[in-house]
């Protein structure tokens, strides 16, 4: 059984990360943006796991758990913000949240 080379995983990770970035920049719906962030985090997770596997070290795996925990916390806070936003603006468009500026 042949082993899939690490570069494949990394390419997939980069592709997913790029997808997340593009979605983050171009989408206006805050929930979509939220999903884009999750996508980027998981792309990074994939890279960590691939490296950990390639180098046979646990560090990468440990880091993945940290990222998952942070992502969960972030989701909790983020969804609270989304709700507050939906209540006050009756909209999920982030471009309408632009009061804090020069």
């Amino acid at each position: 059984m042949s082993v899939v080379p690490v570069s494949y995983y990394l390419a997939l990770s980069a592709f997913l990360f790029g997808l997340g970035v593009i979605a983050f920049v171009f989408k206006r719906n805050i929930i979509t943006i939220f999903m884009a962030i999750e996508l980027m985090l998981n792309a990074v997770n994939l890279a960590f796991v691939a490296f950990a596997r390639a180098h046979s070290q646990l560090d990468g795996l440990v880091f993945v758990f940290f990222v998952i925990v942070v992502a969960a916390a972030e989701a909790a806070v983020g969804l609270a913000i989304v709700l507050a936003l939906a209540h006050t603006r009756q909209s999920l468009n982030v471009d309408r949240v632009n009061l804090l500026k020069f």
Partner: protein, 655 residues
């Protein structure tokens, strides 16, 4: 050796008095009552005077080889080879000055109790006056030029504070500033002189300087050299402080201050600091005949010049002020012709009779309810007899009529100018003319004030004799003005010149270096005394003839003299000339160049320019903060990509 070992006590007492009155007066206001101020203010100077008396008693028992008594209390500053300690010393010269400062100072304090009784800021006045005594004592006790300089500047400060005592009056505040700034011009020279002394002798201690001079046997400098330079620079300080030509202009204006201040600071003590300093530095001056000639010329010319201005003044205090300038000129003339002890002797008698004259004029002003114009006085003789008699004694003393104090001191100076080792006959003639004029304007003052018909409104001005706290000091000073001269009565008059003998150790180096002259004969001395008395009497008679016998004549003479009278009446327009030549250009440059161009343009421009650049940059940069989340995300991505690129580049370079 109770006090002599603890010299600092003499200084500390007035300083303590000043601090207590100043702090508690400010803190408690009217609850710090005038009688408490009196107790502290007069008491501290009184105790200081007692300490000086005890110190003098102890000093007279000190063997000659232990003089000067020297105490170095602590190192004040040290830098490389330079060291200056807070050191005090007592020698014969200091003893004389100590007695004058604390003695006359005490009398003026007592006088002020009566004179200032109805003034606001009573505690402030006594606090300043005590502070002045402290600094003056520092000046005369200092054992090196720097400590003396501290006292020198300190008395200048107190002079400024006291001239401007009534600071709400613009003329008083201006006069204070004028005194401070004018003397500062001379002090500049004094400071450079001190530096030059250090550069030359490697020390600023008097003992060190004088012993270096003696050990190296430094010869008399017949050409311009470093000693002449030092002497002239130090003398520049003396010119400012002692109000000589051309920096005398501040002293007449200083009469804006309360009269006791004029008596103590601007007649008896502070203005004589220059004479004290020149006498103190006599081993240097004796080695520079050029500097001595300059001192003598400036002294002699000032004596004559200021006396001529005194003729036409109508303000009673202004007459005395110009008289002070003139008398200080005599003292410098004495130093310049090598008669240091005569100069110091005149300093002492002048402190007595000029202190007396000023205090008496204060009593007259007090009696007249604040009037200072002699043309609005007259006929006061019967109404204020004690003031009249004491002032008359002071006048006779200054006019140089024997046996009063001024005669002996002035006679010694003039005789030294004619026949001394550095005799200068033209200056003698100036001096004797000045003596005649002095006698004239002083008796003019007496006749205008006390004789003739009253020229004031008798219904409104209630002339009254002053209280005894004012008359007491007058009587004591009158007594001193009467007998003070006999301390130095020369052999001709049956004395033994005790004063000169007492001071001679201080002036030993100067005496050894002076050109040898044959002892003047008594008959010559008698002739000169006769001339001096004669000119004094002529002045008296002319004043009597003009102001008592023919009171209408002076106005007619003034009219016939026309321009000359206007010139003298306006003090030769010196203030106006200085104003046009120095003050106006200086103000113009300060305003139009230094202020509007250098300060506003260059300095403010640089600071404001830097701020403007920062503000403009910030104004552009803040536009990045648009408020749109997606724009921030874009910037983050650009940053991340840029960072990655740099990192990648660095890693590549490393390989």
């Amino acid at each position: 050796m109770l006090i002599l070992d603890q010299l600092w006590i003499i200084l500390a007492l007035p300083l303590l008095g000043s601090a207590i009155n100043g702090i508690f007066g400010l803190w408690l206001g009217s609850r710090w009552s005038n009688s408490t101020v009196n107790t502290v203010g007069v008491g501290s100077v009184g105790l200081s005077f007692l300490c000086v008396l005890e110190a003098v008693r102890e000093f007279l028992q000190v063997p000659a080889d232990q003089i000067p008594v020297f105490h170095d209390y602590f190192t004040w500053m040290i830098a490389g080879p330079f060291r200056a300690g807070f050191a005090l010393q007592v020698d014969q010269l200091s003893v004389v000055m100590l007695l004058i400062v604390t003695g006359v100072g005490l009398l003026v304090h007592i006088f002020s109790v009566g004179y200032m009784a109805h003034e606001g800021g009573y505690y402030r006045f006594f606090s300043y006056l005590n502070l002045f005594v402290f600094f003056m004592l520092t000046l005369v006790l200092g054992a090196n030029l720097l400590v003396t300089f501290v006292g020198w500047e300190g008395v200048g400060l107190c002079s400024y504070l006291l001239i401007g005592f009534w600071f709400l009056k613009k003329s008083a505040a201006d006069a204070g500033k004028k005194a401070f700034i004018t003397t500062r011009i001379g002090d500049m020279g004094f400071m450079v002189g001190i530096l030059l002394v250090f550069a030359t002798f490697n020390t600023v201690d008097y003992r060190g300087i004088f012993s270096t001079l003696a050990q190296r046997n430094v010869p008399v400098e017949t050409h311009l050299g470093v000693i002449t330079a030092i002497c002239l620079l130090l003398f520049a300080g003396a010119i400012g402080k002692s109000a000589q030509l051309p920096l005398y202009v501040w002293l007449p204006d200083a009469m804006e201050g309360p009269t006791p201040v004029s008596a103590l600071i601007h007649a008896a003590t502070m203005v004589t600091a220059g004479v004290y300093m020149v006498a103190r530095m006599n081993p240097l001056y004796a080695r520079s005949p050029i500097a001595m000639l300059v001192v003598a010329i400036i002294g002699g010319v000032t004596a004559f010049y200021a006396a001529t201005i005194g003729i036409a003044q109508t303000d009673i205090k202004k007459v005395l002020a110009y008289s002070t300038v003139s008398q200080l000129g005599y003292m410098f003339l004495a130093c310049g012709v090598g008669a240091y002890s005569a100069g110091i002797f005149h300093l002492m008698t002048h402190a007595f009779f000029k202190g007396l004259l000023f205090l008496a004029s204060g009593s007259v002003i007090h009696a007249m309810g604040g009037e200072q114009d002699m043309l609005k006085m007259g006929g006061l003789r019967k109404k204020i007899p004690v003031t009249f008699w004491t002032m008359l004694i002071g006048t006779i003393a200054i006019a140089g009529i024997p046996p009063f104090a001024g005669f002996f001191s002035k006679d010694q100076i003039l005789f030294a100018a004619w026949a001394g080792p550095y005799a200068n006959k033209p200056l003698y003639l100036l001096g004797i003319c000045a003596a005649a004029i002095t006698s004239f304007y002083m008796f003019r003052l007496i006749f205008l004030t006390f004789f003739g018909e009253p020229r004031y409104d008798e219904h409104h001005v209630h002339v009254h004799e002053s209280p005894w706290s004012m008359l007491g000091p007058l009587c004591i000073l009158a007594l001193l003005s009467t007998v003070g001269g006999w301390f130095a009565a020369p052999t001709l008059w049956g004395g033994e010149d005790a004063f000169g003998k007492f001071l001679s150790p201080v002036f030993a180096q100067a005496a050894a270096l002076a050109p040898v002259t044959e002892e003047a004969s008594h008959s010559l001395e008698l002739q000169f005394s006769a001339i001096a008395v004669a000119v004094g009497l002529i002045g008296l008679l002319v004043a009597w003839w003009l102001y008592v016998k023919n009171p209408d004549l002076p106005a007619r003479i003034a009219k016939s003299l026309g321009g000359l009278y206007t010139l003298v009446y306006n003090k030769y327009f010196v203030d106006e000339i200085y104003g046009a030549l120095i003050v106006t250009p200086l103000l113009w440059i300060s305003t139009n160049v230094l202020w509007h161009v250098v300060d506003e343009g260059m300095i403010d421009g640089a600071v404001n320019g830097a701020a403007d650049v920062a503000q403009a940059a910030g104004g552009e940069a803040r536009k990045l903060q648009s408020g749109y989340t997606r724009s921030y995300a874009t910037w983050v991505i650009i940053g991340a990509v840029g960072f990655s690129a740099v990192l990648y580049g660095l890693l590549r370079m490393k390989q």
